[in-house]
Symmetry: C2
Subunit: 200 residues, 2 copies
């Protein structure tokens, strides 16, 4: 039996911070894990900007509530969930993910959470553990599963390489150049067919 | 973050083998993990009866396709999946579970599979691993989750006792008598409230 682990942002839904950056006009917030491999550093950078601008959790949630999954993502995920077990492994936060999970018919997601002050200011992040994506793949293996992993960012590479099979999906140029040995897909149909061929 | 692990049969859907026994009139097939703690022994007993009666996988699947989740189970599970991550841990087989998972809106399920001959005879079972339920709880802990587990049978006791929190749901008398220290619930509303109170 194979369990499929998918990254969330860029693979099934738009990059949340990029959408927020566009909405607020704060171009500095367009930096993602595709640019900055160190997630804690990236989040500190983001939280400092939010603080400077007086932006709160509610402001981000308001933007997320207007977001939809990427075109075709729900159909892809629905089809895949009929074939095998799928878990979304994301470094995002439960406080952000919920409205998007609802739009994807509540797939299982393993993510992180935020530390928020009483007046709604984001103070810090609470990671479930370090290297959460890679450790999830290890844990699935320990349960007797074959594993497949896919994503688009620096923080997906370890899980993709550790899994029995894996690939990139819509990864940016810098990731591709450094990982020319990994398969990459741009369309959900091809992506689905490749995953299906790897299922045992 | 808490992950909730639920047994399938008796908790969310009827006992598949009991339904099949009733449909075929083969009372010997009413034996479940609530009566026989050794699952391999139980499955060998069942497969021997199927062989003797000339019954095939298709005959069981035909019965399953007429089954529905227990009254209120889907609403309970839908509500719980909005609150936290839920994984069904079951000793049943993917070949049996699929139509029921569809009726439950495709929750994540970790189960086993069957070895079936070309003409559809069930030859053997393929367990993902020994002690799959207990090992899943260990694996969730290794991923930094708090764990909650619930079930009704002998094969659920180890996962319930290993998890950070847990309880029985509609367990039969023999399980209750031997496990008087565990909380038990009979209705989904109470069950949901108890789980919700344990979430972190």
């Amino acid at each position: 039996m194979t369990i499929v682990a998918l990254d969330l942002e860029g693979v099934l839904v738009p990059e949340i911070w990029i959408s927020f950056a566009e909405k607020t006009g704060l171009d500095e917030l367009k930096r993602t894990t595709r640019d900055e491999p160190d997630y804690r550093k990236l989040m500190k950078y983001r939280i400092d900007i939010l603080k400077r601008e007086g932006l709160k959790l509610k402001d981000i949630q308001d933007v997320i509530s207007t977001m939809d999954p990427l075109d075709g993502a729900k159909e892809f995920l629905d089809k895949l969930r009929e074939e095998t077990q799928v878990v979304i492994l994301s470094d995002t936060f439960v406080e952000f993910a919920k409205p998007l999970m609802k739009k994807l018919s509540w797939p299982t997601i393993f993510s992180n959470s935020l530390v928020v002050s009483d007046d709604g200011e984001i103070l810090d992040i609470r990671m479930r553990q370090e290297e959460g994506k890679m450790n999830a793949i290890k844990a699935f293996s320990s349960m007797g599963f074959k594993t497949f992993a896919a994503g688009d960012s620096y923080n997906d590479l370890k899980m993709i390489r550790l899994a029995d099979n894996g690939c990139l999906f819509r990864a940016p140029k810098n990731i591709l150049e450094e990982n020319g040995d990994l398969k990459i897909f741009e369309e959900y149909d091809d992506f689905f067919s490749y995953i299906k061929g790897c299922l045992v």
